[in-house]
């Protein structure tokens, strides 16, 4: 399927999801759905670097918060100047640009590190950025910042519906970008980096350049997911925006779904995200991370390649394959004594 047709199919599915959510007629669906969609974007973005390229990024929260805080900063500028001309989509683009640039910079500084060292460096980035934000009074410092969101949006209705719709579109964009990369020259290049960087270089793959492209795209998408967040939450506070939840969830979701294709993070985010929302309502919000932990441990032991890998193995062991093997055995003369 071409990328354009994939994009259109995604849009149709998104429209159906939106229609179904409106039909339920309860605003809570939008509040809960927004979080799940946000995780689809975050885990898809994480997977571009972590899954396709094999570089584990623990700094998801940092990129997410960068997007959120660029919105806060712009919001402050708008209230100071009494100019409210920046609509949410523009804020998302700006948030994405800021995170993308930081992603590029972080990549340039840290991509010579591998494995655990790279992961530690990204974690350090999150700590550094959080310290900066806490000490930056203009965006609220450690007190946090309030954002007043409009009550209603023309045509769509309540603002949460609008946010939900925006995040839905963002998820479509993220998935299309991920799928485009996966089936492109870039995707092949990233896969070789994941497998063997030395052999990749020997085959002519400019590894550093491709890794920089991956960190930039991944960072930008995370920032875009974060940009509308202040409007969703209303009160943005550094501790929760830089929270461990984002980092852990955006790693756990692709791992549970499967990291080698765009479908993995989508499945993982829907499953784990919904489960967390249900646990929050029925048990308690503190159970969230416990759920992630338990499921992650189960998957690492039972299905290290995620749900996609599980399905794949099942297909490979189908009876027809067994028949195929037997046929080969009888055909080859060496097999017959």
């Amino acid at each position: 399927m071409r990328t354009t047709s994939f994009f259109i199919v995604c849009l149709v599915v998104a429209a159906a999801v939106f229609g179904a959510s409106v039909a339920i007629g309860n605003d809570y669906v939008f509040f809960a759905g927004y979080v799940v969609l946000q995780y689809i974007v975050l885990s898809t973005a994480w997977n571009i670097l972590g899954g396709y390229c094999g570089y584990v990024n623990f700094g998801t929260a940092a990129f997410f918060a960068l997007g959120a805080y660029s919105t806060v900063a712009l919001y402050k500028v708008m209230t100071d100047t009494d100019f409210y001309g920046l609509p949410l989509p523009v804020l998302i683009v700006i948030g994405g640009a800021v995170s993308g640039i930081v992603g590029f910079g972080m990549g340039y500084l840290t991509l010579r590190l591998r494995g655990a060292f790279f992961a530690i460096a990204t974690l350090a980035l999150a700590v550094v950025l959080q310290t900066l934000v806490v000490n930056w009074d203009y965006v609220g410092g450690s007190r946090g910042a309030y954002i007043l969101r409009p009550e209603n949006v023309p045509i769509i209705g309540s603002y949460i519906k609008y946010l939900f719709l925006i995040m839905l579109l963002l998820a479509v964009v993220a998935l299309s970008v991920a799928r485009l990369i996966e089936h492109s020259r870039l995707g092949y290049g990233l896969a070789t980096i994941r497998d063997d960087e030395l052999a990749a270089e020997a085959a002519g793959v400019p590894t550093l350049k491709l890794k920089l492209i991956a960190t930039t795209i991944s960072g930008a998408l995370m920032g875009m997911a974060g940009a509308p967040f202040p409007y969703y939450i209303g009160y943005l506070q550094p501790d929760s925006t830089f929270g461990l939840d984002y980092a852990v969830n955006s790693i756990a979701m692709p791992l549970i779904g499967g990291t080698t294709s765009w479908l993995g993070p989508l499945i993982g985010a829907i499953l784990l995200g919904s489960l967390q929302q249900i646990a929050t309502v029925t048990i308690s919000s503190a159970v969230n991370l416990l759920v992630v932990g338990v499921i992650l441990v189960l998957f690492v032991i039972l299905a290290p390649n995620g749900i996609i890998g599980l399905v794949h193995t099942y297909w490979q062991h189908k009876p027809e394959d067994f028949v195929g093997r037997r046929k080969v055995e009888t055909e080859s003369p060496e097999a017959v004594p």
Binding site: Y188, G189, A191, A200, A203, P206
Partner: protein
């Protein structure tokens, strides 16, 4: 005729250990050069310095008329230098087709000859057929035997359409007939115009393949000449057999 590869006074240290000292070597186009030496003599380090995996501290490497000092490994591959690894390093998550597709996309593509997807597909199959792996084109590298793995390694190196191929112990651990298979492949490549440097411990293979032999011992070049002359060299005998 100008030399394809010129190495001048190349030196490489690992901390206090001198891995290579004042190595000078030139290779003419179309040559079949054997590079031998005991374990730890610096053969692989030399290959790594030529291919850009390691940076040489001293001396210079010229390839195809230009200095390639300081160029990254992938840039050297783009210029026409290809290598196979001592231990095969296939891309484990890609099937055989995609393994040979990578150099076509990234090296041949970077030289300005854009090919359509269909052309690349055909070329991948051709390359695999050349090494006898076309029947396994859609299989994963983990399904291959050792000798097939070496063939894949060579196919991938060939996919970049190199001027110079460095085969780093492409035959270690193979049986007699498997060694013959790889040798036939290398000779065929050479006949197609590719200069080949063969690094090998199996003397039978080196002697039958090489037109010239260079001997490294403890990071120094101790002999360079026709195979029979080199084998008669007392210094080489001393290095290999001890005294």
């Amino acid at each position: 005729m100008t030399d394809l590869l010129i190495i001048e006074n190349l030196g490489k240290r690992f901390g206090g250990f001198v891995a290579l000292e004042n190595i000078s070597l030139s290779v003419t186009p179309g040559e079949r050069l054997g590079l031998i030496g005991p374990n730890g003599s610096g053969k692989s380090t030399l290959v790594n310095c030529i291919c850009g995996t390691l940076r040489n501290e001293r001396g210079s490497v010229h390839f195809d008329g230009r200095s390639i000092n300081g160029l990254a490994a992938h840039q050297r591959t783009h210029l026409g230098l290809a290598r196979s690894f001592q231990l095969p390093r296939p891309f484990l998550s890609l099937n055989l087709m995609d393994n040979v597709r990578i150099p076509l996309l990234y090296t041949v593509g970077a030289r300005g000859t854009r090919r359509s997807t269909g052309d690349i597909e055909t070329r991948c199959v051709d390359l695999l057929r050349e090494v006898g792996l076309d029947a396994k084109a859609r299989r994963m590298p983990k399904d291959l035997t050792q000798v097939e793995m070496r063939k894949l390694e060579l196919a991938r190196a060939m996919a970049s359409e190199p001027k110079l191929l460095i085969a780093d112990e492409a035959m270690a651990g193979l049986t007699h007939s498997e060694v013959e298979e790889i040798l036939t492949l290398l000779v065929r490549l050479n006949e197609q115009g590719v200069t080949v440097i063969l690094i090998e411990h199996i003397m039978r293979a080196v002697m039958s393949f090489s037109r010239r032999i260079v001997v490294l011992v403890s990071g120094k070049k101790i002999a360079d000449g026709l195979p029979d002359d080199v084998m008669r060299d007392p210094e080489v005998e001393r290095a290999y057999l001890g005294q």
